[in-house]
């Protein structure tokens, strides 16, 4: 099947989405939105994997994406548990109000 979209378009799109996620991590103070930005960056990398997999004709990239999704699910569970216990301890989710490890 002939795909008329060049591979570079997918790569540039993935780079743009990754950068937007990076800006979210750098500028937001709410730890949940930082967490969502990290998920967005992971998804941008997944898009690169799938694009390379489709254009190289092997399915290794798609399997890597499955493994990344499993790691992201584990990260979501542990990360949100950390957010919950942080909120119990400090009554805040804003990262600039948390300075437990600053001395």
């Amino acid at each position: 099947m002939l795909n008329t979209i060049p591979l570079e378009y997918y790569l540039v799109l993935s780079g743009i989405i990754f950068t937007i996620g990076c800006v979210g991590v750098l500028t937001r103070r709410n730890v949940i939105i930082i967490f969502m930005s990290i998920e967005m960056m992971l998804n941008a990398v997944n898009l690169t994997f799938v694009a390379f997999s489709a254009y190289s004709g092997t399915s290794a990239g798609q399997l890597f994406v499955m493994f990344i999704m499993a790691v992201a699910a584990a990260e979501a569970a542990v990360g949100l548990a950390i957010v919950l216990s942080l909120f119990r301890l400090k009554k805040t989710v804003y990262v600039d109000e948390v300075n437990l490890m600053k001395w």
Binding site: L2, I20, V23, V50, M69, A73, A77, L80, R88, Y94
Partner: protein
């Protein structure tokens, strides 16, 4: 202008727009809903790359499981709206956006002049991304990583339960 290119353009523009609203909106719930929309757009992009199974998995795991977890946590924490600390955080935001623009230009330049040349590639047969093909690869060539992932998920479950418990008796 081929039909697939129009699909790609629509999906890409909507994906970037929803990504921007995710990081820009003040309300965490609005952010989460934009992110779910973003994940749906990415699933559509996977479909244009003939990764059908991954598109379904994307919706099930990301838009389903992970985002439900995030919305649950937002509900549990009962967040207030983020106040703008303009005078203190303006410079940081400006620098971040500037660096991001530089980074995008760099990535685009590298991809444009780089050795990857794929003008309208001839994609292989459509059955590359089916469940059958993925499962065959997963249970033959990638069996060890698959089992390692199951161990990782078990560890994450135990870790999440321990972290979320109210009192930890050591």
């Amino acid at each position: 202008m081929a039909l697939s290119f129009i699909f790609f353009a629509i999906l890409a523009v909507l994906a970037i727009a929803s990504a921007v609203t995710t990081i820009a909106s003040k309300n965490p719930v609005a952010s989460a809903i934009s992110l779910i929309f973003h994940f749906f757009m990415l699933a559509g992009l996977y479909l244009t790359l003939q990764a059908q199974f991954l598109a379904v998995i994307q919706i099930l795991i990301y838009a389903g499981a992970i985002m439900v977890l995030v919305v649950f946590v937002i509900m549990l924490l009962n967040l207030r709206k983020e106040e703008s600390l303009k005078e203190k955080y303006n410079y940081r935001k400006t620098i971040a956006i500037l660096l991001a623009a530089v980074f995008v230009v760099q990535v685009t330049a590298i991809i444009a002049i780089g050795p990857i040349i794929s003008k309208a590639n001839n994609l292989p047969a459509v059955n590359q991304g089916t469940i059958e093909n993925i499962a065959r690869e997963l249970f033959t060539n990638y069996l060890v990583p698959f089992e390692a992932i199951s161990l990782l998920l078990l560890t994450a479950i135990v870790g999440a339960v321990i972290l979320a418990k109210r009192h930890i008796d050591v």
